[in-house]
Amino acid sequence: MALPHIMERSAVTEARPDRSPAGSAPVISATDLDLTFRTNDGPVHALKGVNLAIGKGEFVSFIGPSGCGKTTFLRCVAGLEHPTGGTLTVNGMSPDEARRARAYGYVFQAAGLYPWRTIGGNIRLPLEIMGFPKAEQAERTRRVLELVDLAGFEKKYPWQLSGGMQQRASIARALAFDADILLMDEPFGALDEIVRDRLNEELLRLWDRTGKTIGFVTHSIPEAVYLSTKIVVMSPRPGRITDVIDSPLPRERPLDIRDSRAFIEIAHRVREGLRAGMVDD
């Protein structure tokens, strides 16, 4: 029962590459991507035949059950993992080249701030590594701190901030060197719903202001629906894309939008996609 449904979605997915907005070349483009981990217990097929094109300025969420390869895909894009098949380009380059060109900022699940550096020091860290001049480091740090609403906390240490503030600092750090692409792997997974709501709102505003391309992994259906222009639903073993949903929601999204009909419908479709993937398993 579930199978034809998926097939249909997959067909849609494969047709995508040419459909990227404004007809311009996609920022991230994956064709027939395959990745197999070799482990002691034999190979783990983490990604299989993944096709996806992400256009400039899109906000793409990845959702799927645990272990379906969301993180793996994001890591491939970041050049942290190397696909065993297919092609993947970022800004027309290979992911490794893109990494060396510092084409993206990456936000990990936990905030991962260094406890021995102040918030300002943490944000300066990538700038130091990339060799920005001192004055510019200070200027950029100031700017991103303002962007994530943490002005005044520059001299504080991470443990002096709440979890939500830490996560914002971590986002600021990824923004500091102003890459066009932002990759975020479950950045709000550890936060409670209310804080999460607020950060979601802020993230949307930031995206709106900066026009960045964002890849966003989440486990939460409402979060995915609320944030994205495009939702990628994945299923595990081997990880593949079962559905790609273009959101009809407007760019402006008050939190109330979650009680709207359209929102609930997309959420329903995502849930269906997820269940189908599970049954299929």
Binding site: L80, R100, Y104, Y106, G112, Y114, W116, L125, I129, M130
Partner: protein, 315 residues
């Protein structure tokens, strides 16, 4: 401060136990002395008493044990005897002694202050060498798989060699290649202290998780940058924990290194005390060494607190 109460109580209990043990431990010698002084002891001769249990002997001659707490060569000196010896060989010797700092302008070679100073110098030198060596080895092990595979087992084997027993020979061999004075002691001290540092530092340098290392990769950081900005700061707590162990080991090494050389130091002092049967002197040197160790460990702890605070840890 809250911890002081229990410590004092336990300390008092131990002291009481100690005082009670003194006559039992010293019973043979005490009775022999009483016998020489003409008292009637049961059994009468030292030969008969030799193989008897101390407690039984003490109970049977309870009246003759008065001297047990003030023997000159006790098996177990009474705490006040040790305290008196410590006082005599620190304050008293320095202030009133002919060679003391008050009258001669330099520390007396009969005072524990002087010997503790010598030991401290060797310990500091050895600890510095050991810590630096340990850190360098750890850096090598973390960055080179070949070193990791081949060196670590030998570091363990190195600690099974009774270096303490070899100290005299090592000093002689070093002597023959022209190394003498502080350095041989420091080398033995370093040999004992590098191992805890290697173990702790390897653990510390590997403390950053995969996520933090990946983070660095996303910024395309060089391995030097990863080391200075991530691994090294992350290893600091581990480094200090192992340095506390290492500094105590250094002290033992320095003391051992002083034994054969007999040119001052707490080790030489202990041995000389043992050699001349001056039990109180051994115990005093022993306590001085333990106090020195406590001081060194405290000092490393203080450094740790300062460093961590400077690094922004919760005060």
């Amino acid at each position: 401060m809250r911890a002081l109460g229990p410590v004092l109580v336990v300390l008092l209990a131990l002291l009481a136990l100690w005082y009670a043990a003194v006559p039992v431990m010293n019973v043979q010698e005490t009775l022999t002395r009483a016998e020489r002084a003409g008292a009637v002891i049961e059994p009468a001769s030292a030969v008969e008493r030799r193989d008897m249990a101390s407690i039984g002997l003490a109970l049977r001659n309870a009246g003759q044990l008065g001297e047990a707490w003030s023997l000159e060569r006790p098996r177990l000196p009474a705490p006040h005897q040790i305290a008196a010896e410590i006082w005599a060989s620190t304050w008293d010797e320095e202030v009133n002694g002919r060679r003391g700092i008050v009258q001669s302008g330099s520390f007396s070679n009969r005072s524990l202050v002087y010997h503790a100073g010598i030991t401290l110098t060797a310990t500091a030198a050895g600890f510095a060498i050991g810590a630096v060596l340990g850190i360098l080895l750890a850096v090598g092990i973390v960055h080179s798989r070949v070193l990791d595979l081949s060196l670590m087992p030998w570091a363990i084997v190195s600690q099974t060699i009774p270096i303490v027993a070899l100290a005299p020979m090592i000093i002689v061999v070093l002597y023959s290649v022209g190394v003498q004075g502080l350095l041989p002691k420091a080398i033995i001290s370093a040999y004992l202290s590098f191992f805890p540092v290697v173990v702790g530092m390897v653990k510390g340098l590997r403390a950053p998780d995969a996520m933090q290392l990946d983070q660095m990769r996303t910024w395309n950081a060089s391995s030097a940058q990863v080391f200075w900005k991530l691994r090294l700061p992350a290893s600091v707590p581990y480094l200090f924990a192992s340095m506390k162990i290492a500094v105590a080991a250094s002290l033992v090494g320095a003391i051992v290194g002083e034994l054969p050389v007999q040119q001052g130091g707490l080790g030489a002092r202990m041995l000389a005390g043992s050699y001349y049967g001056q039990t109180a002197q051994i115990w005093a040197a022993l306590f001085a060494a333990a106090a020195l160790a406590a001081l060194l460990v405290w000092f490393v702890g203080w450094l740790e607190r300062r460093t961590l605070r400077a690094m922004g840890g919760p005060a």
